[in-house]
Symmetry: C2
Subunit: 189 residues, 2 copies
Amino acid sequence: MVLTRRFVLDTSLFVNPHAREKFGKTPPLAVKSFIKMISKLDAEFYMPSLIFMELKNFIGEKISSEFELHIKKRAPNIYALYLPAAVLHDFIEDVRGRMNKGLRLAEEYAQDNKPENNVKLQKLREKYRDAVRAGLLDSKEDFELVMLAKELEATLVSSDEGVLKFANKVGCEWLNGSKMFAMLKKMKK
Amino acid sequence: MVLTRRFVLDTSLFVNPHAREKFGKTPPLAVKSFIKMISKLDAEFYMPSLIFMELKNFIGEKISSEFELHIKKRAPNIYALYLPAAVLHDFIEDVRGRMNKGLRLAEEYAQDNKPENNVKLQKLREKYRDAVRAGLLDSKEDFELVMLAKELEATLVSSDEGVLKFANKVGCEWLNGSKMFAMLKKMKK
């Protein structure tokens, strides 16, 4: 028996310009053409409720209301899912290094006494994002994506580096969002 | 059958002045009197190897070499221990909030163009510690303490707020380091 293929979708599939490229020019257009493409496919598409709410902000009430009929919306059962302690061990070490970098950066900018504060702030924010946040699974929304895919033994589709890295670490099947258009094309055959 | 009581010891028991108070004035003296107190007790004392190495820096080669004969030194088996996903879910949210606070703090200090940089840096470091680190389980050493206590069903003894909070969250028995002297006294009777 072959089970119907399942996918868990991240907002980034429709919001990241590179990922949605072939679906449409804007997030709403991308979702519209996505709905069209999957309507006759033998596959299931899931979104954690929090991620669906996030996407709604990008595509508006009307299209999200239609999209809701084509996807399954649910949270992972985080009280029944278990992870090896080694995963948290590595996560804590990673976070520790990032917090150290954050402080080094703050120190560097605190010592810069030139008065063009707006220029300084913009640079600081960029550097902070790169040093502290990039590549980290840093929100409960992102964590729910991976856990839902794990619970459902589904393929996680995302363009977020932190999400994909974490999914890979916990043995979750994943596909970069930029490959999703080609995947659906292939499945249609 | 009553099992021999087991304890997992944190460095803070001997390094935190409030916790070691009744054991001794300095970390080496505290460890010495601790060894004396436990020598005839029917109890087992464990330390994760990383924590033992940490303590060595405070008490020196000679005393740590004696202490090693009185405690059991081992790491938790983090590949065989499992934690509910909810634990990591909460941890990620906590870290996210702290990273936001770290950036706000960095921004605040980047805009302060008064040139007394040393005063500024000291304040920044204090505030960063309070906002970003206090109360967080932020090192693999700390994580190993909790996991070892969990694996052994032992009582975790620590004076670190982040360690105790996390131990409590995962259902691990814990005792504040400042109560350990009285506990040993009571066990001697």
